[in-house]
Symmetry: none
């Protein structure tokens, strides 16, 4: 079963809105075990919407049209689908009534245009969910189907989850459960990961289940996603557990977390488990580290505070490593925390990269490490933050 | 001149990444006066990428392929384009050399896969910009053209702005100059702006040039974009200048900046003009304000530092307004700055909103203001930061 997504709206092509709807639908389709090979964005133009739908019906089994169901003259998705179906529209009295009541209940005047939203191509079926004024439509065309859902995200989501996915799974005659897990990694390049996991990937290419895929996510590291298919949830979870164990055995401490565990959550978890608190000196990182940690620790259970400013980097006569260690120790005692953290940049190298000294000060000693980071200012800060957290993670795990 | 965008990557279809690249490219094309009627997302599959490119070449004059230029086996954009061009690849020695040097400068081991990025279809031309390891490509096919750019946003942007757009405009033989200017506003709703500007918008609907449009941008405020078309740059600039003056006369201090001027840049500009320095107490905002200010003031010309932590919010027995003023005064003297800034949250109201006291302490007095902000934690912080900056902007401008 292949399903295509067509996002409709000139504002999407003009970049005034980023099309998050298609991404969300794509994720839901994947998790429901339905393949999605193409997603298309098209403006509010009859001919071009028509050509996108016709092409979708040709190369896929189902098409989800998202957007263009509003009350204005721009909103023509309904009309185009009726044209492709080769049918007229009928005005649905029950929907028209609901729309009129919705306006009345909000004390707003309804223009006649709004009743266009009650028009349904003959042979199509309105979806039961109707959180707004636009009903979603299920429009069978031969043995294929076009779904129309509004572009308003919460309305779209309710209709896709409530009608589209179950209808697609019923059409696919599908019983299997598909689940996924993300392993989050830091410190290895995508090609390095690919090389390390190549033998396992080759095996999986034969086995077909589970599958794994890489996703480079900038300063969030590289994610390795495992997708498993099974007859029931418990079996799928066992497949994920087993694969996670296999991959962790190969990758070791490069894996820092799973699914929604960010680096700061992992570090805060380690601190909390050990009953430790944290303070940071942000001479180089300028508040970025604090803003991430404090967002993840809103009750300030572990995070005791920070010092930001030129002086937080420590004595400028010392080499970077010693300055970082001095700054970490000083912010630790200033805030009465169990752990102090600091990063200090060294001299930019000829190729533009900057060596950055990372330091963690805690009971039992000071831990320094130097990493070479990209030279442009914003990336330098971003990478210093994630590397500093990763440094502390490894110190705490040791 | 019609240009189509093809975003390549299975992770886009799976919704693991939201395709912001196409939106950005769409915006740039619109501003350059080039029509974009279709944007397509396709996975890392040879046949499907090929069919998307062939269709793009059929219905458009140019195709921008974004993504799939990385070093792994998944990354096949280059190969597909060579196939569509009907040519072999050659390895570009200069690019291979740059890639090898980039790895060496970062102290990382290069795998052989990385050199695939130096492969160029015969007849294609690598783009001059190469911020990463993947060169962009200009690939002429008959009188049409395929551009390939990486999916990494900052690399993609540099190549689209530096090579793709100028090349498209040259191909379009475009003589008219289209330029735009954004007025950034804070403190008025979109419907409020629309009402205030309605008379002018009606005039412009008749005049057709310039045009104005609103773009709600969350905590960046609402942008009012003026687009002007003229025979030459000087005339277009005059149209923009005149329109900006007209709109500013209506909107007053709601306009805080233009184009890329963020609120923090505007505030730093005012501080610098007056020879003032700044320190901030980040009890509520947890480093977020510092990270924005220090990113905009990397030399720390105006920004003297911050204090983050539970105690930075001032004496807990005082009401929020007094605590904010005390915290602003205390961080000001602690860092020897001319201005101290602080925000302190009050009790959450029944409807969930939170009153936040904003304070600026400087020579000549302390300035407090209370704003009602959305209650969820992340938005509360974000809105506190922008409102605090806006508060200081108005204090400094008074």
């Amino acid at each position: 079963m292949h399903c295509e997504v067509i996002a409709i709206g000139t504002e999407l092509l003009l970049g005034l809105i980023v099309d998050g709807n298609s991404a969300w639908i794509g994720e839901q389709l994947a998790l429901a075990g339905i393949d999605c090979y193409f997603q298309v964005k098209v403006g509010d133009n009859f001919q071009r919407i028509e050509s996108a739908i016709r092409q979708g019906l040709q190369r896929s089994d189902a098409v989800i049209c998202c957007g263009g169901l509003g009350p204005t003259q721009d909103d023509i998705t309904r009309d185009v689908i009726a044209h492709v179906m080769g049918v007229e529209m009928r005005r649905d009295a029950a929907i028209a009534d609901r729309i009129a009541k919705m306006f009345a209940s909000r004390g707003r005047v309804m223009s006649q245009n709004n009743l266009r939203q009650a028009d349904v191509p003959i042979g199509a079926r309105p979806m039961a969910q109707m959180p707004g004024t636009a009903p979603g439509l299920v429009c069978p065309i031969g043995d294929k189907v076009v779904y129309a859902v509004p572009g308003v995200p919460h309305e779209m989501r309710e209709m896709v989850a409530g009608t589209v996915l179950p209808d697609l799974q019923r059409r696919a005659g599908q019983a299997a459960v598909i689940t996924s897990r993300v392993l989050r990694t830091w410190g290895m390049s995508e090609s390095g990961l690919a090389e390390a996991l190549a033998p396992r990937v080759e095996e999986l290419d034969r086995l077909k289940n589970p599958t794994i895929a890489y996703q480079a996510s900038g300063i969030e590291g590289i994610k390795v996603r495992i997708v498993a298919k099974a007859d029931d949830t418990a079996t799928a979870q066992r497949v994920l557990d087993r694969e996670e164990a296999l991959l962790r055995a190969v990758l070791g401490e490069v894996v820092f977390g799973t699914d929604e565990e960010t680096m700061e959550l992992v570090v805060l978890g380690l601190l909390q488990k050990k009953g430790l608190t944290l303070a940071v000196a942000e001479g180089l990182t300028g508040g970025l580290l604090s803003s991430r940690i404090s967002a993840a620790d809103p009750g300030l259970v572990c995070f005791k505070g920070a010092r930001i400013g030129p002086e937080a980097g420590g004595d400028r006569r010392l080499p970077p490593r010693e300055r970082a260690i001095a700054a970490a120790a000083s912010v630790r005692s200033e805030h009465g925390a169990s752990v102090g953290l600091a990063a200090v940049a060294g001299e930019r190298e000829a190729q533009g990269a900057v060596p950055v000294a990372l330091a963690a000060a805690l009971d039992g000693g000071e831990h320094g490490q130097t990493v070479l980071l990209p030279g442009d200012r914003h990336r330098l800060r971003d990478f210093a933050v994630i590397n500093l957290l990763d440094h502390l993670r490894k110190v705490l795990a040791a």
